[in-house]
Symmetry: D2
Subunit: 503 residues, 4 copies
């Protein structure tokens, strides 16, 4: 990312902060005026802004380059810190005169990455032996897969361990795309089945996750830790044992560690597992999902239910597409319905909850994987933040499809307001014709008011040579009707574990 002094840099901040929270490695380069008017700037300085100070809270590391010979060295510092532990954004400030200066670079050493930083942390023999032995001897081991598995490309290694153990596999909230939802050992983690899996387990292997608030890491959902052991593998020592007591914490790259464990399990005489537990868990899971899905399946309209729409989108684009998801309640439906559980297939901003990332993520995904179809599913509140990026897509002629679920409201805000005051404030957004906006920006636009028209609109969008936007008029009441259990759990993210009702 690049920013000029003043506004260019200031406007980067929300995005950089999002990258920090989500653990995205980004190099932010800001330019700056000559040192004659900044560091320090007086009250009379035009755009006199201490950008190092400004970015400090939003990055892992930041520093200036005040002499051009230090450009390679400072960039090495920046990249070293970017990749140290959990990745994240780093900041380098380059005053314009340094940027434009010319000189003899004879003594300046430009090094390949391996010459100035180590590879990521590795698990030792001893650690892998211990982990494998614990898994082999556990009665009810389970595997919980976090988003770090996707980052490390450890998806296959993880499933190999699961297959070897014949045990249930869950994902964290953010780790959704790390396990195919049709995997025979998969259990959905945020319902009664997931709770039972965790609570009955005597050994949890958690990989690439901090077990954060969104995962509700409370005893009522995870069980009594005195009867459980926990192996946690993470690339960052700061993530170990933060919310659940550890038995064995391993700072390591997830892929090589899981491969090491799989190798050892292959060489171990593992106890036979009859699969009864897994069958029981999956039956319970099936039953809970069906109960939750009932009212949704029964929905007759007249408007469009967002879950139905997500179903159509998933059917059209299938499991091999990349999905970027944005918004409030819209993203909850999308999360539960879209078929995106392939590696690097699902992009959403869970930790910071930033809105407006759907379209930019779709552009980035398409640039990064031009051979894959890319679909953005977004609420209309979220769409408004960066709708202009559809013009970027048009300018670059990127064939992505954005579907705006346009019900005309900030629906996710409503339950709290209704609960507190019996009315809502400023949540109504009005009717926006996103398809017309998109046309003004040079994109193909479709407008859909009936669910039966959606498939056709999506097909036409797929076939368009360039970006398309479908404005889908979803139903406000349907969108508001989030299943009660899901809401309860979501509330506990903020409030902490609910007190058990007293008898």
């Amino acid at each position: 990312m690049l920013g000029n002094p003043g506004p260019g840099s200031a406007n980067l901040l929300p995005g950089v902060l999002t990258a920090k929270h989500e653990g995205v490695p980004v190099l932010v380069i800001t330019s700056q005026h000559r040192l004659g008017i900044v560091y320090p700037s007086s009250p009379a300085t035009f755009q006199g802004q201490d950008q190092l100070d400004l970015f400090r809270p939003a990055v892992k590391w930041g520093g200036p380059v005040f002499e051009w010979v230090r450009i390679p060295e400072v960039l090495q510092l920046a990249f070293r810190e970017m990749w140290n532990g959990r990745p994240g954004p780093v900041h380098v400030e380059l005053p314009a005169p340094v940027l434009y200066e010319e000189g003899d670079d004879e003594g300046v050493r430009v090094l390949a990455p391996g010459r100035y930083r180590g590879t990521g942390p590795q698990a030792s023999n001893a650690q892998l032996d211990e982990a494998a032995a614990m898994l082999a001897s556990a009665e009810r081991p389970i595997v919980i897969s976090g988003t770090g598995v996707d980052r490390a490309g450890a998806n296959d290694a993880l499933l190999e361990v699961v297959d070897l153990l014949g045990c249930p596999v869950l994902t964290t909230m953010a780790g959704r795309p790390t396990v195919p939802s049709d995997h025979p050992n998969y259990v959905f983690g945020f319902g009664p089945a997931g709770d039972q899996v965790r609570s009955e387990s005597d050994l949890l292997l958690v990989v690439g996750s901090r077990m954060g608030n969104l995962d509700l890491p409370y005893d009522r959902y995870w069980g009594d830790p005195s009867g459980q052991r926990l192996i946690q593998i993470d690339v960052d020592p700061g993530n170990l044992g933060v919310t659940r007591p550890l038995t064995l914490g391993i700072v390591a790259d997830a892929r090589s560690a899981l491969e090491g464990i799989a190798t050892r399990l292959h060489a171990t005489d593992l106890p036979a597992r009859d699969g009864d537990d897994l069958t029981r868990y999956r039956a319970l899971d099936e039953q809970a999902r069906a109960a939750q899905a009932g009212p949704i399946l029964d929905w007759q309209g007249p408007g469009i239910h967002p879950a139905h729409a997500a179903g159509v989108i998933g059917a059209v684009f299938g499991p091999e597409a990349v999905y970027t998801v944005d918004g409030g309640n819209t993203s909850l439906w999308a999360y539960n319905v879209l078929p995106a559980t392939r590696p690097r297939s699902y992009h959403s901003i869970l930790e910071l909850g930033m809105l407006g990332t759907g379209i930019p993520s779709a552009i980035g995904a398409k640039l990064g994987a031009p051979e894959r179809e890319v679909v953005c599913v977004t609420g209309d509140g979220a769409a408004g933040f960066n709708i202009m990026e559809m013009q970027s897509a048009a300018r670059e002629n990127l064939p992505i499809t954005t579907i705006v679920f346009a019900e005309g409201s900030w629906t996710m805000e409503e339950p709290n307001e209704l609960d507190l005051y019996g009315e809502t404030f400023g949540t109504a957004q009005g009717e926006i014709r996103w398809d017309i906006v998109a046309q003004g920006l040079g994109c193909h636009g479709e407008y859909v008011e009936r669910i039966e028209d959606l498939d056709g609109a999506l097909q036409r969008s797929r076939e368009h040579d360039g970006p398309s936007l479908v404005c889908l008029r979803t139903d406000h009441d349907a969108n508001l009707a989030i299943p009660a259990e899901m809401l309860t759990r979501f509330f506990e993210v903020y409030s902490g574990p609910a007190k058990p009702a007293t008898v």
Copy 2:
């Protein structure tokens, strides 16, 4: 301004930073999660963000409210700092549990502003006497009016002093709307006439300005300070004598100070001034402007020259409208052509140079002065930042008119790139139909490709009951052709005073 924890707060940052640079008093309230998961937040905390740290570089003062009984006291601290010296944004963080808590407010003192903070600084008798005596005895006094004059409502008092002295009056770059450009004593400050006025003066009275980089406060434009005296009146002691040596610095509210000086000048037997100097300055000014205007007036198209368009807009809306101006080169033309020199009539972001403020400023201006017509003139690059706010205007049914000068390029960036590399990178924006975008957002839209159609489009927009947008296809080459002298001066804002050519 209000922000929820996480994205709501993060997205406020660029705007708050702009307010800090422009000296705009804003109270930013961010909410926050309960103290059980923030201060400190662990790596596992959802939206775990130290927002006090985050906002620190962007505000004058910030603090949390951790106990509800402190709400009035902390808000008093915030307002006191907001108005102390140059105004600016302040930040208060309110964790949700504190916000929702209920209690007995018997012992909690809620005070009117005058009970917890003083009025602004005042000039003493001695200071006003000295200033008036210096002005009365000066041979060639001049008055330079900054944006602080507009803020203080001191416009009339300033012109009264000018009339009493019969001296030239200039404005700073940001102070443009503080003096009507048809005032008989007005001289344009950024051309040869302005330079001569300043350089020949033996006494400068500068009010409400820091004489910042944009005002090119260098000897070559302001004269030799050894032969000049300088009276500076400013509400902030930090702004005094920053770039030009002071003779008398007065920390005071501009209005009461100027009124005090005027009262004293009325009571003084002022020397007769024949007006020859002023005549000479204004003749030079006239001549320089004509020379600069020549190529613009001669422009025959085929495209639309932005200066011509600004002329039509000014003719339609007249000097009593409020103009908000946004963009790069577009804003330079608008600055020079629009007739906005009434108090609080012209809003632009000069100091930080933030883009995207034109439409939001128009909305704010209309809400603040519903009886006035409000017009936004914006470049197309700038328009893209906050075009969604046209939907806010539609939702609130605010009759504002936005004219987008759509030439399809980041033109202001081009000269530097062409100069350095002989080509441009990423400055082309493509053709956007802003009028269609606006229609999608619920506004009236007009599309104009010929200058002769502009008047009609503007008239229809004025008559529309709600927001309108005119997409005006301006000419790229015309927009690029900024007069050479203006460019030279602009370059010196960044580079400092150019070295005089050696003989």
Copy 3:
């Protein structure tokens, strides 16, 4: 203050922070390594420390000088901020290569203070008229004098206002030396008489004080604000109305404002005041002090009572000496007994409560006022922090007298510990022979175990040509026996106003 990179700068911090809390104007200059190894420094940099970051929380303003031509400009910025509002420390960092660089200073402007900053804030005619009118018409006006009066040299002007009004005058806790305690209108502020004065008053004139926690600015000690008006004069707008509701807040230099008020009162036909109130207050004051002094006067030993010792010291050095006071309980006795109520006669660190300042303050006072006698009264805990500065005094041959009240304990910490746990932890210090230590450092030393030997020891110390130290063996039990009412009030500094006992 000057610090080299690394330790030299790090060691400045506690002192700079003290200056910030106490409002002392100090320029801190730190040197720094070349920019090739700092800004940024890598983990491999020797003394690689971002000192701007380090000092930021401890100063009002800080900035580097990265180009030698900016030295005057940056120092102007620093001095402008140092004196803006309440004074305080500012920081300038000077990398060694910039410090050592040589160049042509032709274009570099070095200005006298009046050319680059304004004078302090002044009260306007209107403000002074209003204040004088309020005072003239008040029934029971009172004057409360803070430490700002001493700083502004406004002591005489304040007493002139008091004399004109014939009203009681109190001091704040820190403002003790601003009013001679033998002034006929003086009432001690922190006992029943002071409470009654404030509570019965219909108009308080507070000058140069923030009415901070140490002044117990609570209704129970200051009265019901609905029946009172408050005029506050302060040099810093941030200090106005912080703890007590204002009627008239004036941002002004205390001296010129008080002189302006006095001038107006002289010109006013003030109502006759019979003095009955003042007589009543002073009688109550006298009675309360006598009651408090009883147990102290009755003390028979065998050890030395610190109050008795302070009495002897005061008798020997008299009211014209400068007293610097340091420590815990020792400083409470000294505060109440020493006769230092002349301008700039009493130096203590009340706001931050920093220990170890007594001896350095004595050195500073002697250097600043070589014609006055300077005496340091310090507890033994406090003495240990900077005892080495006695060697500085010896090296510079400065005739100051330090009296260490050596009872061998951190007595002020004891009551809290005894109250909570029934025992003390680590408060015993052991017997130190401070006189021998001082001899090792090149000073004259005296050791006193009986009160009757103190006078002689002090006389010999006064006559010594160089620094002296008297090690005075005070009694621990006597020191511990702080009067109950004083303790109660002190507790409320931390805890806020005590709840009134319910009937």
Copy 4:
């Protein structure tokens, strides 16, 4: 470390900052007033100090505890960060009401370290295999030992690798005590022999060092990196490849990694090494040291040469004592002469260069290893910073011996001043009788003016039951006469590599 609000906390800063630079794990706990008057504090708050802000630049991590139930969790966060990568200080702020609050701790989980954090990073099999293979096949491998070796208790493992390879072993500047100077493979690193060893090597194994400025990591001293490979083992990924290009960077605990390498080397058929290189290097080393020692050995007085004194001290206390060293030139002599090259035997503050640490380090060393003799060798400038801690030693009856090299000057500052201005400023300190000071503080004191009296004084000090101090009158000229080559190298620490003289 513990600090009360205000001064107690402020005074911790220089020490905490030193711990940060030196990588010392320290938990700093500061107390704080109730939240009713801080966070935020108004200008009226007694000791109103944002201590989190204040400590931020001095610690690795800091946070408050605002609810008592979070005490264990926040302490876990603090300890996790303290030990993450390079250790360092962390800060926890505990407001007094939280500290004193009582409650039911049933739901509060207090965990053993292994339950909330991982063990340090480990090397993987693959990494150890690669390192061992590189070492086995190298022609001229060398081992360079940094202070991290001592921290990790890896001294024996390091020497085992050296013995297996039969190669030279050097230490970094800070790593001095990690290799006994009488080891047959040891070569002194900061002279011509060390330079030759490094430059001729084709494979460097650097352990526990960042190769910082003090190690002069420049090609002229380390050789051409294009012909060298570099294996670096460090516990912190941020330390890898900072100044010298890596071939293999391993983030690992030094001890387990070196043991792993040694195991692999044992199992390898290592090529025979004839030892000629080593013999050549050691001969050169011997010769260079002798040349440097010549003028020192020839010194005849009349004063005491500090190197001679260090020799006597070393002879008396021997290689098994713990030495703490403090000061400027004094510490250079001590560094080169004292026999302290056993694990954890030598404590000095090299990175930040903090002064005054000698006596506190001696106290800490004695408390940590009561069975060992502890000797502090300090210059007189350094001694003055914390001489009061001799009283702490007396109070605790700790038998340590401090020898102050008292030449009465800040000698290390003199060469620069003489070089620049031909004179010195404020470097003379005067004659202090440190032995008498120590007696006043309750210690045994000795005064020595002739080298032949030193042995006796030291013997009497050793036998004293409690702390002793020897005031040793060293010769100023002898102290000033640092060997030229050492000075040249020291200069390059600051200035970077000197340019080679042109022919």
